[in-house]
């Protein structure tokens, strides 16, 4: 059973190895002449103003992230349910129907309240 997952490790190590080797080979042949003016972040040619990564970003991205977590957990519940649906029959279907229905109300709620509108 565990053997099924061994290739995952092998592949991750191998890809990382190839990537590092490529970068190494590239470092042998590429030029390296950095100077501050050249390495400034791109801002249409003018000098950059302020820090970009201080976290002043639209709150909307967080809303999307929260919605994602809710529905991603739902996906995880659905996977095992979908596999055994034929065995558990109508009772299992109704149970999941209630679950999806409740989440659907959540989606409609977010929709009506404007959480999905990008333009405010």
């Amino acid at each position: 059973m565990l053997l099924d997952y061994l290739p995952v490790l092998i592949m991750a190590v191998f890809v990382a190895f190839i990537a590092t080797m490529t970068l190494f080979v590239s470092s042998l042949v590429r030029p390296s002449r950095p100077y501050p003016k050249k390495n400034q972040p791109y801002e249409c040619g003018v000098d950059p103003i302020g820090e970009a990564s201080t976290g002043r970003i639209r709150i909307h991205y967080f809303v999307i992230a929260i919605l994602f977590i809710i529905f991603d957990v739902e996906t995880l519940y659905l996977f095992p349910w979908a596999v055994v649906l034929k065995e558990i029959g109508l009772f299992g279907y109704i149970e999941m129907f209630i679950f999806i229905f409740l989440l659907l109300i959540g989606l409609i709620y977010a929709w009506v309240k404007g959480a999905l509108e990008w333009e405010s």
Binding site: L3, D4, Y5, L6, P7, V8, I10, M11, A12, F14, V15, A16, A19, T20, T22, L23, V25, S26, S27, V29, R30, P31, S32, P34, P36, N39, Q40, P41, Y42, E43, P48, E51, A52, S53, I57, Y61, I64, A65, F68, F71, D72, T75, F79, A82, V83, L85, K86, L90, G92, Y93, M96, F97, I100, L104, L107, W111, L116, E117, W118, E119
Partner: protein
């Protein structure tokens, strides 16, 4: 003991083989894409390097290899260097669980045209494919440039938004088969393809898949026009190439998954299975290229509302309807 050793040996051989194939596939694919683009737009495309520009990708590769590796002065250096590799690994890992055909006999030993037949195959694929987001968001953030940050955030929001309909749309297929193993799913389609039972599921998967691969019409993350090519604005040389490679492999992954889940995998008459498989995958790769030069790009708010207001309800409805027939 020897048996175990041989199994692991074959495993390593297969892993290396598939990795190399995946690494080299973008070479013909970029050429093909530029040729398709050219002919759709009534041009010839690359013609200079080699016969009909066949060696153009090689020239591009050499150029990328010898380009200077710029690191912005305000960047978080470690994360900046690491991000392309982080985003490169997950798309490869997906192919551990992807089968290319049934068992074949090789050197007197029966072996499968797949690395590993996991019983949770599809779940594993979604789990690993989801990891790609980390490379994108880290790359965008570590650059500490406004364009890169915006691009990274947009891309991250897009990827997570479309991951949900993508996950929901395969639920119908799992219900039909009663298994998450891709081998079982293909086997169940030996008579009728799943696309017949699951047209809505296929449609949602196709659209969400294009969005996951960040192809036009959903390539908002790089949007050359308004974002200066998004989260990899600050990247150059090989690190930039890694991001590009990632995108190509994701596109390939989506095509392969569509074929396996909805179009019967390697099942087909007359021709050998592997040929059928390559033909089908090739068709979808071509379809993606075709889309790229046919459709305009969506606005970002349109992109978000398509994901949350159209695809998500559609895929949920698909689950419920499929469930009624099966339960």
């Amino acid at each position: 003991m020897l048996d175990l050793f041989m199994t692991i040996f074959f495993m390593i051989i297969k892993v290396i083989g598939i990795t190399l194939i995946l690494l080299l596939l973008p070479v013909p694919l970029t050429w093909l894409e530029r040729k398709v683009a050219g002919h759709i737009q009534q041009r010839l495309g690359p013609m200079r390097v080699g016969w009909h520009g066949l060696l153009q990708p090689i020239a591009d590769g050499i150029k990328l290899l010898t380009k200077e590796d710029n690191i912005p002065i305000y960047a978080d250096k470690t994360l900046f260097k690491l991000a392309p590799i982080i985003s490169l690994i997950p798309p490869f890992l997906v192919f551990v669980a992807v089968p290319f055909g049934e068992d074949v006999t090789l050197f007197g030993r029966k072996t499968g045209l797949y690395i590993s037949d996991m019983n949770i195959g599809l779940l594993y694929i979604f789990a690993v494919a989801g990891l790609e987001v980390y490379g994108v968001i880290l790359g965008g953030w570590a650059s500490n440039s406004k364009y890169a940050l915006l691009g990274g955030l947009r891309c991250c929001a897009q990827l997570i938004s479309y991951e949900i309909p993508l996950g929901f749309s395969v639920m119908g297929v799992i219900m039909l088969t009663g298994s998450m193993s891709l081998l079982d799913i293909v086997e169940a389609q030996s008579q009728i393809w799943n696309v017949v039972y699951q047209p809505i599921g296929f449609f949602v998967f196709l659209v969400a898949g294009i969005a996951e691969a960040q192809r036009i019409p959903f390539d908002l993350a790089e949007a050359e026009g308004d974002l200066g090519s998004g989260y990899h604005t600050e990247y150059s040389g090989m690190r930039f190439a890694f991001f590009m490679l990632t995108e190509y492999i994701v596109m390939l992954t989506v095509s392969v998954l569509i074929v396996l889940l909805f179009f019967g995998g390697w099942n087909g008459p007359f021709l050998p299975p592997i040929v059928w498989f390559i033909l089908k995958v090739g068709f979808f790769v071509y379809l993606f290229m075709w889309f790229r030069f046919t459709f305009p790009r969506y606005r970002y708010d349109q992109l978000m509302s398509i994901g949350w207001k159209v695809l998500l309800p559609l895929s949920l409805a698909n689950i419920l309807i499929t469930g009624i027939f099966l339960a």
